[in-house]
């Protein structure tokens, strides 16, 4: 007998009287991320859902407590996501986003430290960082901040011991197996290696955030001249 392979149902834990957490796995993988993106999409149209916060291995569901009690919400979620994942949907939806980056110590003050830590030249760091295709596993922390993975093993470096109080907009940074662009000025402890001239969040656009969960992201090195021509700013530190 041939049995259809259904994706495992997530654990559902109550978080409060109007929120529950769906846990899909204990480990990060592209398959888990695909599944979360799909379930998040399925739940978007469920009535009484107020907000959905997908992340690496979990999906936080905020619901209207007047619409569901704690039993009804679990049943509604289980019923909605019992359908098997259509195996073609992921491939067609994936967008590739190219982010131009001016790499260098002028805007990436940690580039030399990263190079020294990884035992390679700055140019090699740039080459490694920009030759990889990353996946957006989660969007959060601040609006438009995309957690991108995975950086090549040769580039793994921990966060800074003391986080910077102000990281300039557009800073491109790495930490452990992740990389990201800071969409706004915030404190931050990741190692900054360059800066992009493009905006990651635009309140006037329909999408608001340039990068969506599940997108593929590539970094493209540009010259200082191109960076400035595209509206890049050198200040901020």
């Amino acid at each position: 007998m041939i049995q259809a392979v259904l994706p495992p149902l997530p654990d559902i834990d109550m978080v409060s009287d109007n929120a529950c957490l769906l846990t899909f796995s204990q480990t990060i993988s592209e398959a888990v991320s695909d599944r979360i993106a799909h379930v998040s999409h399925q739940l978007t149209s469920l009535s009484g859902i107020i907000d959905l916060v997908p992340s690496y291995t979990t999906l936080l569901v905020i619901f209207d407590g007047d619409h569901y009690d704690r039993f009804a919400i679990c049943k509604a979620i289980r019923d909605r996501i019992a359908d098997p994942v259509p195996n073609t949907s992921q491939q067609t939806d994936v967008r590739e986003i190219v982010i131009p980056v001016y790499y260098g110590t002028e805007v990436g003050p940690d580039l030399d430290d990263v190079a020294a830590h990884c035992g390679m030249s700055s140019n090699e760091v740039i080459k490694q960082h920009s030759s990889n295709l990353y996946r957006a596993y989660a969007i959060g922390f601040t609006p438009g901040f995309a957690f991108l993975g995975n950086t090549p093993a040769a580039l793994h470096i921990g966060r800074k011991t003391t986080p910077r109080l102000k990281v300039p907009i557009g800073s491109v940074a790495i930490a452990e197996n992740q990389t990201a662009v800071y969409p706004s000025v915030t404190p931050g402890g990741w190692q900054i290696i360059g800066r992009t001239p493009i905006q990651l969040i635009d309140w006037g656009s329909d999408n608001l955030a340039l990068i969506a969960m599940g997108d593929k992201v590539r970094f493209e090195p540009i010259s200082r001249q191109d960076f400035l021509a595209q509206g890049g700013k050198l200040d901020g530190f």
Binding site: M14, S16, I139, T142
Partner: protein
């Protein structure tokens, strides 16, 4: 017609029930720190639940009314006066053109809500007026500014006034030290001993507390799992960072984080907490999701029946 801001006070923000549906791109909700007080403010004036109000933190604010209207004050007692006559919170007042409405310093609680008949009339951003200063979104101009001197807070002129007040039994007791905490949110990552410490010790509200989160100081809690894979953070989540000092994440919280959580305060419990000032003491009381549901239904039923 409008209130003209004579003195902007420490922190006065336009709020509604929050900006929902955008947490997936990392945008926080904002909204009233004391949701129950906010809901009563609108109920007193027969406004819709989500109608814009002014959240006044600490006081030191002065407004001049440029048209007649009816107002309601709920939440903290910030020693409000109307033309130098003392006002008691949790009721409505008639306001005439030229009247001066002032708030001094907290007598009881920290945050007062000023609602006006028909609501303030600021444009919304992404469906909400909720002001989040950190994200530069919402408020009078849509750019997340707190109230400034000279600002004009528009409302519709209104001649009718109904004297109404919130039933005494429905007014929260802000002097309660116990803050209810729902268990069930990574509670299992703390040992029995750490849980016992957490619930039996007092915590002091830190100076570094704000609309994003209340930082607490007291007995350090050790988690057996130092970090977790970053996940969405619900309103009221009590994070335990590496130093063991709990942080209660409130209206302007970040959307994703990676610290283990002891539990979650309800919107009602978070409202009680948000009325505490730095230096005050609290203690957490464990409750179940079931109890939290009952509490909320009771509060909402009181509001609906009263309306």
């Amino acid at each position: 017609m409008a209130f003209k801001v004579i003195k902007p006070g420490m922190l006065a923000l336009l709020q509604d029930l929050g900006r929902h549906g955008h947490q997936a791109i990392g945008l926080t909700t904002g909204g009233p720190m004391d949701e129950l007080a906010f809901r009563w403010g609108n109920a007193l004036l027969d406004n819709d639940d989500n109608t814009q109000q002014l959240e006044i933190t600490f006081g030191m604010l002065s407004l001049e009314a440029q048209a007649d209207t009816s107002i309601a004050l709920t939440g903290a007692d910030l020693a409000a006066t109307l033309n130098d006559k003392s006002l008691t919170p949790w009721q409505t007042y008639a306001v005439k053109q030229g009247d001066i409405l002032s708030f001094q310093q907290p007598v009881w609680g920290l945050r007062a809500y000023l609602s006006v008949k028909g609501g303030f009339q600021a444009d919304t951003t992404l469906g909400s007026v909720a002001t989040v200063m950190r994200e530069k979104i919402g408020g009078l101009t849509g750019t997340g500014e707190k109230l400034q001197k000279g600002d004009v807070l528009p409302y519709l002129a209104n001649q009718t006034h109904q004297p109404r007040s919130v039933p005494r039994a429905a007014i929260p007791n802000y002097s309660l030290r116990e803050i209810p905490l729902i268990l069930g949110y990574q509670y299992q990552s703390f040992s029995d001993l750490e849980r016992a410490h957490f619930f039996s010790n007092d915590y002091t509200i830190s100076q570094n507390s704000d609309r994003m989160g209340y930082r607490l100081e007291g007995h350090a809690i050790i988690s057996e799992t130092p970090g977790i894979i970053s996940e969405g953070i619900a309103y009221g989540a009590v994070q335990i960072p590496k130093d063991g000092q709990p942080i209660v994440l409130l209206r302007d919280r970040q959307t994703i984080g990676g610290y283990p959580k002891m539990g979650c305060v309800t919107r009602f419990g978070g409202g009680l907490l948000a009325q505490k000032k730095p230096g005050e003491h609290i203690q957490f009381t464990p409750i179940t999701v079931d109890q939290a549901e009952h509490e909320r239904h009771l509060q909402m039923a009181r509001l609906q029946q009263w309306r």
